[in-house]
Amino acid sequence: MNRMLWFWLLAGWTGFLILPWYQQEYGFWTLEWLTDGYPFYADYAPAILQATLYDRGWLLPLAIFLILPLALLRVARQDRNYARILILSGMGGLVYLLVQGFAIGISGWGFGFLESLFGPLDVRQYGLGYGALFCAASFLVLLCTGLAAAGAMRGDVFVTSAIGVVVALVAVFVFFPVSRILVGGFVDYDGALSGAAFARNFFNNGVWGVGCLSGGYCGVAWNTAILAILTATSTTLLGLTFALVVTRTAFRWKKSLRVLTVLPIITPPFVIGLALILLFGRSGAATQFFSDLLGVEAGRWLYGLPGIWLAQTLSFTPISFLVLIGVVEGVSPSMEEASQTLRANRWQTFTQVSLPLMRPGLANAFLLSFIESMADFGNPMVLGGNYDVLSTEIFFAIVGAQNDQGRAAVLAVVLLFFTLSAFAAQRFWLGRKSYATVSGKADNGAHVGLNRGLKIVCYATVIPWAIFTVVIYAMIFYGGFVRRFGFDNSLTLANYRDAFGVAIGDHGIVWSGAAWDSLWTTISISAIAAPLTAIVGLTTAYLLVRQNFRGKNAFEFGTMLSFAIPGTVIGVSYILAFNVPPLELTGTGVILVICFIFRNMPVGVRGGIAAMSQLDRSLDEASLTLGANSFTTFRRVILPLLRPAIVAALVYSFVRAITSVSAVIFLVSADHNMATSYIIGLVENGRYGVAIAYCSVLIVVMLAAIVSVQLAVGKRRLRREDRINDTDTDTGANGGETSPILREKRS
């Protein structure tokens, strides 16, 4: 029996005998319990005392599964029983832990039939705490080690455990909440399961009504679908024109256009909506200018479909631009050159060769924008007016006066149906239809330029739109300094003072601004979540790229799934799933961290897959044949070579955690308020000045994070180049981070 196994078994025993079994009331990291009656006080007692002193005898059987592995002292690794004992204790422990957790809840029995079977139970049970966590981790490792010993993954404990941990995490934090929401749709007012509840909420004019065809209002599902289709169409077309200008013309400010692609990453989703209000709202700058000029009354056109559509188009065009640059560049120049040598002119080449080759890419961009639009919460929240969409309706069903979880769950199911359909279409239908002509062979030749008419159209679209985008962002920064937009346009620092005031008081510095709290919470929670996201994401990527196992496709689908689940749905599902034991997380900072990890994990996975596919597999194999095990190989060969991808994953998940709002708004609490939900609160109270000032601060913080990381990475690259120049060889010409790997591939 190896040291690693002993370590984890010891951790399990520690969890059972020493650490408090149940969750701490005052937060995950507080150590108050140490001085407050531990170990005999009921709230802090470990499992063994809970069972003996406080009538929670059902915890005792867990000890069986921790004693069982001790038998391994007398069993050789080659023995078949070695694996059996480990699997039995690991699997048994996990299952028993879960069953007792669900069966006995905060008010006695968790299910009605248990009460009728065993009679009422006086003892209650809280959320699982440190002790349970240690036990669960220990059981999981025992199980994975056992599976490895039985021959899974060629006996590789590291790989088996990595798969086990990722599967367990995704199951608990993605599948469990989502299945909980599906069940939630069937829960009636009295808490019983009934199809009637689902039918009442589902077949509802508010959801599927088609009144707008005859001048009335349409159901929220149709609203959402119409908005998503409009947004996806406009962003795809705009993205395509931008991509064409950047890749196929001699436009002078191409580089500046590319900067646009960074904007959505660092822009909280509702900021565009806010800026639009400052421009086109009833007292907006542009509105007033035109109403004075033309003598018409200022309208409310912005609040509703046109406004949301405009805001989403502004927000998501850069994303489809980014996708379509790759698509347009992916069309092999030699195809176009071949077409030209066959006497086709530029227009014919574009319409008959290039465009058909881009079609799957265009569809991909369309679906991506479709999903983004469906999931968008910030812009509809700010600009919605009477135009309801699913994401906001879900929010109001939960937090509004209705507090109707059943309705929220049904709406979430509808939304989930839309986004998952788009996601499935993207993966299964488009997945097979890629004409990517990147073959690894050098492809000489230049892309064919656009013909004159197309060029004029593209320029005429791109230049005004780019200027418009710049104006919007200028408004964001300018707006923070205006006293009351539209009423009192004098410049002031009052907004910043309100939010970020600092005073020197009697006891040193006083952070008197109202926003400091949420800003620190946001930054610290994002900073905690970022490395964890990177670890989970890159480990998953490693398993997907480098290991083969049965069920790998399902594994991949599961890990990418959370990308297609709108934040609002995640938020609702987390509330439904983690509000009661055994996992009682709502109101804590932990739930925010977890939410970010699994929301942003697909980004890390994709980045990791892309980077790892660049590394030749022979590097791993060389390390293995040199006697390193898979963990050492991962640590000493793969991770160092992935450093750029790690940095990217860190920055990206940090920034995405800061900007996310849709899921967060359900999960924040008084102790853990996040910047975005705080800003939404400001907007609801009409304090646009402070809100937009706060937004500018967030953008600056994120820009600073990105730039400083870029600089740090850039420096490392220089150092390596220096080194190459020192040694006076002729291979240094193309130094830099990727060149050794590229050499590896080329040679």
Binding site: R154, G155, D156, D616, S618, L619, E621, A622, S623, L624, T625, L626, G627, A628, N629, S630, T632, R636, V637, P640, L641, R720, R723, I724, T727, T729, T731, G732, G735, S739, P740, I741, R743, E744, K745, S747
Partner: protein, 365 residues
């Protein structure tokens, strides 16, 4: 400190490897035996299973059935990490983020050697391949040939029982290849290593090997010394793959002593019979075993005595030799002729003779 080697044997017993739930057969019931201190080449066309075989010795692939023994121990289920073999990869697979010395010392450091010992042995390894003093460079700062030698040093410092080389020369240019293959052979002989060498280049295989195992379609086609394979091919495939033989139909008239009397398109030849019985047979004719005599355009008396005649369709001048394509009653023949001063022009008729050295009997099918 010097590196010490205990050369081990490699034994395959009825090894089969399938992919994709058994639908693709990569290795079909292969058995062979490699003696300690021997350099054996696995040779074959691409997709024949030679690289899979090598990777199974390394432990990077695992047998679906059968047994693999290294140094007398059964390692069939042992992963690569725990096997006492090391491998030189086709791409070299040098870790680009580590210096040359770190690359060479990697295997030692991950198996728990002290830093001092690792450094000392790494230096020793680099000295062995003639790269002493290059330890601080990055792999990207070395030429292709030097990188290749680093890869060899990295494999050697672990003092493996068996050294595996996967097409180690394929990334070098033609001139360097001949030089490096000699170096590898010398090193192997000097250290007394067991080495398994994979290549698809028959000339390279003939040059470096003690023994060659030729594989085709997931099975061993023939194994033996380079001379045995060239002179006594067991099948038409071997004759064609090693040394580009022309395969022509013939007939064994009778067996006399060690020789078979063969009728080769009217020409009678005596060839070692190697167990074949009288009847139809095929003969592998090496391109340089055909002698061409230009015939006068106007037939003369002597020409009539030549029993086999042909017609030259192509004649190519290659500096040191002439290549001819000849139409004959036996079928088209590819001929290499060293007599470049008296080339025969395309379109001429020629008389054809054979030298016994370059002919071998191979079975009909």
């Amino acid at each position: 400190m010097t590196l010490k080697y205990r050369a081990g044997s490699v034994v395959f017993e009825n090894v089969t490897k399938t992919y994709g739930r058994g639908s693709v057969l990569a290795i079909d019931n292969v058995s062979f035996d490699i003696q300690p201190g021997e350099l054996v080449t696995l040779l074959g066309p691409s997709g024949c299973g030679k690289t899979t075989t090598l990777r199974m010795i390394a432990g990077l692939e695992h047998a679906s059935s059968g047994r693999i023994l290294i140094g007398g121990k059964d390692v069939t289920q042992l992963p690569a990490t725990d096997r006492d073999v090391s491998m030189v990869f086709q791409s070299y697979a040098l870790f680009p983020h580590m210096s040359v010395a770190e690359n060479v010392g990697y295997g030692l450091s991950v198996s728990g050697n002290s830093k001092a010992e690792t450094r000392e042995k790494a230096e020793e390894g680099l000295r062995l391949v003639g790269l002493a003093g290059y330890g601080d460079r990055l792999p990207s700062e070395l030429s292709g040939g030097q990188q290749q030698r680093v890869a060899v040093a990295r494999a050697l410092v672990l003092e493996p029982e068996v050294l595996l080389l996967d097409e180690p020369l394929s990334n070098l240019d033609a001139k360097l290849r001949r030089h490096v293959r000699t170096e590898i052979r010398d090193l192997q002989q000097e250290l007394g290593l067991t080495a398994v060498y994979v290549t698809h280049d028959q000339e390279e295989a003939l040059a470096v090997s003690d023994r060659i195992i030729v594989m085709n379609n997931a099975v061993i086609a023939q194994q033996g010394t380079p001379r045995e394979l060239y002179e006594q091919p067991a099948s038409a495939f071997i004759a064609d793959f090693i040394g580009d033989a022309n395969l022509v139909e013939a007939e064994i008239r009778e067996i006399s002593g060690d020789y078979a009397v063969v009728d080769l398109g009217g020409v009678t030849q005596e060839l070692p019979h190697r167990g074949y019985r009288p009847g139809p047979i095929r003969v592998a004719v090496r391109p340089d075993a055909v002698q061409l005599t230009a015939l006068d355009p106007v037939p003369t008396a002597t020409a009539g005595e030549m029993s086999l005649k042909g017609h030259i369709t192509h004649a190519t001048y290659l500096g040191s030799q002439m290549h001819y394509s000849v139409d004959t009653p036996l079928g088209p023949l590819f001929v290499i002729d060293g007599l470049i001063d008296t080339p025969i022009a395309a379109g001429r008729d020629v008389g054809i003779g054979f030298s016994r050295r370059g002919l071998a009997l191979v079975p009909k099918n």
